[in-house]
Subunit: 136 residues, 2 copies
Amino acid sequence: MNNSRFPVSLHILTLLNDAKGTLVSSEYLAGSININPALVRKEIMNLRKHGFVNSKEGKGGGSFLAKNAADINLGEVYKAVKNSDILGRNKNEPNPKCPIGKQINQHLNTLYSDVESTLIMNLSKQTLADFALKFK
Amino acid sequence: MNNSRFPVSLHILTLLNDAKGTLVSSEYLAGSININPALVRKEIMNLRKHGFVNSKEGKGGGSFLAKNAADINLGEVYKAVKNSDILGRNKNEPNPKCPIGKQINQHLNTLYSDVESTLIMNLSKQTLADFALKFK
DNA sequence: TGTACTGTAATAAAAATAATTACAGAATGA
DNA sequence: TCATTCTGTAATTATTTTTATTACAGTACA
């Protein structure tokens, strides 16, 4: 992960949780996170697609949590934003003529899926409500 | 992780293990991985720094494992190559005037260090020898 | 003493990420 | 009704990260 989608999404969700159902504009969210509002809206699109938030268009519009914070766990959030292999991947095909190169991706795959599923299991122990509780 | 340092390093180590102590050139390694030899040498520098491999300069030179494959575990390899936060990080400072923005990095830090230590624990259960054993 | 390596740096290219800009469409309320 | 303030979305540009390329000094061998 060399992008900021997870922390940005978690930040958005935390702010929305804090707003207790009132509508929050992408402008405000962007101001807290310190990124561009259009990026926030894009990330919100994704969170909406995954059922975490809902938005209302038009004047006075904004976003709000679509479910209880206790029903959103961080494993789900991770799954919603992940778009690359957890431990990275070589973009080039390894040499198929090399006995090791030929097989390595297959073994990396099993390693990664194992590692990732325990990671998700671990993340899933914590809900957005748990996370938000840490803020004073 | 959006770079390929972990898979590249593991690939190198697997090849060296397969070579059973004979010297392997960066040219050969690069050919199997399908990346540039200079990158391989750079990655080997790092692996050497961490005590996993040794190299011999000059004609007929190359690299070889510096310790038994059973004494290299994948958690150590991960630690040797990791250079970014496991779940990504927003490069911009969150707004210190926002009650959430002000605190979020601190809470992300504890989350990340927790998540990462279980990830490493998990990876550490597997040695290079275990990994290499999967190749037929 | 030529050859084949590593070590290392500098530079360039490519890819990924983020920022910016723009604007149509929706909801509000004066 | 219509100006205002939002979202949704796309297109473009800028920035950063990653990878490739090139080059060459130094080392070891034969």
